[in-house]
Every structure is written in structure tokens, then in C-alpha cells.
């Protein structure tokens, strides 16, 4: 089973606007053992919080039959975030996911998803690049 190379460059439709709440950030902080921001004026999210916004789009893409990725064998190999500011509670964000690259090597699929997160003013807040590898069956 090999991923479909013709999907390189494919842009998924932007997500519906996602409202970031104080409790979303608190739950995420609690799960990574971070200080839970409770009383700050502005509750800002830790740098990897963006993944919780991206995960829905990425899970959809990983299961997209057009991409033909063996989801059960996917491991996360590499992750990069670039932020122009912290995500904060109250943000209304949309996620735009693109299949940036696919390579088949030795029967393994290397798929790079690039996700851009925009705020309500359409400013780019976060660019995330995720390299996923679907390992071949040994």
C-alpha cells in the first residue's frame, strides 16, 4: 500500500472557525503537567497547544481514501511550529491543511502535512509542519 503521490499540493478546505476557551487551554496544560493558567488576564496557550486544533484536520486527512495512507502504521517522525504570537483564550481560529510532500522510500510512506492557523482578522498565527511515516509491514 503506497500513498498517492498525486495528492502532493492538495489543500483541504479550511476548518470551521474554532473558538479557543480558557478550559481548552487549562485541560491541555494539565495533560502536559504545565502550570494551569487560571487567574492571568490573558490566558495564553503553551507552544504545542496548536496541535489540538490541527489534529481534527490531520486525522481526517490520514483517513482520506484519496491519500491512501495506512493509518494504523503511522508514526509521527518530526514536528515543527512557527508562531507569530501565542494562541490565547478567546481566539477564533481556522485551520488550513495542505499535503506538502509525499515520498515513498523502501516501501515506507513519508507524508508532510503543513497546517496554517489564521485568527479572526486573517493574520497567520501558526505554521505547523508534521512529518508522518507509515511503516511498511515487516
Amino acid at each position: 500500500m503506497a500513498a498517492n503521490l498525486e495528492m502532493v499540493g492538495f489543500e483541504y478546505p479550511a476548518s470551521d472557525p474554532l473558538q479557543v476557551t480558557v478550559s481548552d487551554i487549562q485541560n491541555f496544560c494539565s495533560a502536559i503537567g504545565d502550570r494551569v493558567p487560571a487567574f492571568a488576564k490573558t490566558v495564553s496557550a503553551p507552544p504545542t497547544f496548536a496541535i489540538s486544533l490541527i489534529m481534527q484536520a490531520m486525522t481526517y486527512a490520514m483517513n482520506d481514501p484519496r491519500l491512501n495512507l495506512d493509518y494504523a502504521r503511522v508514526v509521527h517522525a518530526d514536528q515543527k511550529f512557527e508562531h507569530s504570537r501565542s494562541i490565547v483564550a478567546g481566539d477564533v481560529l481556522t485551520v488550513q491543511l495542505t499535503v506538502a510532500d509525499i515520498k515513498n522510500k523502501m516501501g515506507n510512506d513519508f507524508v508532510t502535512f503543513v497546517s496554517k492557523i489564521f485568527d479572526a482578522k486573517n493574520n497567520l498565527v501558526t505554521t505547523s509542519s508534521s512529518l508522518l511515516v507509515a511503516r511498511t509491514e515487516a
Binding site: N27, G33, T42, S52, R73, K80, H83
Partner: protein
């Protein structure tokens, strides 16, 4: 104890961060991150795909590890860049101790408004993350 990051120089190390990750943390993380891959809660499924047992989400580790810096971050600063490769899984046993992860960060460069760090993360004698780099923006 919080450190003033901007007083550090190139080559300085931050306070060592050690944390334990238990099965319950992975359940919480699955809910908070929407990553419900069963290899992070089911030994049956984890072993069926060749893993030694339930493993932590790579993104859980990446998130927890950033605390080595963010625990010292002033409110006006933010993380402008954070990247890593996932080199070995953190295997999380079904017991009360969990897995112990150790995190070391070093200042690699300084600019007017930015500081650059490299981070080393290990669990037991294995490096779990590699080429981990983080940039703080103070502007």
C-alpha cells in the same frame, strides 16, 4: 524556581526538568489533544503493531519538554519556533511510577529580541527526542 532567561549566556544550561508520565496522563492528553490513537492506551493494540507496550504521544513529550523553558517565560515573551524529531518512544508502564523523563536545555545563541535553545530529552538510557530546538521571542 523561576530563572531570568535573559541573564543567561550562550553555553549556559537551564535547570534540569524531570517529570513522570503515567497512563492517566496519556488519557488526559488524548482528550485534550484529540489524538485517540489506541497505541496510547491499549497494550493489546500497541503490541500488535510491534511496540513494547503503551507509549506516550510524541506530542505529549514535545509539550511536556517545552516546560524546561516555558516555566521561566515572562508574560511578555512567547515561543516563536519549536521543532523536534521523535527518535524513540517513551514506553509508559501500567504502574504507579510511570516513566521518568529528563530534560536539559542549553542556550545556543542570543539576539536583541530572541534567544535560541537546544534541548536534550532522555528516558532511561535512550534519547527520546532529537534535534530539539526552541526560540523565545522577547519583543
Amino acid at each position: 524556581m523561576t530563572m531570568n532567561l535573559q541573564l543567561l549566556n550562550v553555553g549556559d544550561n537551564l535547570t534540569l526538568l524531570q517529570y513522570r508520565v503515567k497512563r492517566a496522563d496519556l488519557i488526559k492528553y488524548a482528550g485534550a489533544s484529540l489524538d485517540f490513537n489506541p497505541i496510547h492506551y491499549s497494550d493489546r493494540i500497541a503490541t500488535s503493531v510491534g511496540l513494547p507496550g503503551v507509549i506516550a504521544h510524541g506530542m505529549h513529550t514535545m509539550g511536556a519538554v517545552a516546560r524546561v523553558i516555558t516555566d521561566h517565560l515572562p508574560a511578555s515573551a512567547f515561543i516563536s519556533s519549536y521543532s523536534t524529531k521523535f527518535s524513540n518512544p517513551v514506553v509508559v508502564p501500567d504502574d504507579d511510577a510511570g516513566a521518568l523523563v529528563s530534560v536539559n536545555a542549553t542556550v545556543t545563541a542570543k539576539e536583541a529580541n530572541s534567544m535560541f535553545f537546544s534541548i536534550e530529552t532522555s528516558c532511561g538510557d535512550q534519547k527520546v527526542l532529537s534535534q530539539t530546538k526552541l526560540t523565545v521571542n522577547f519583543s
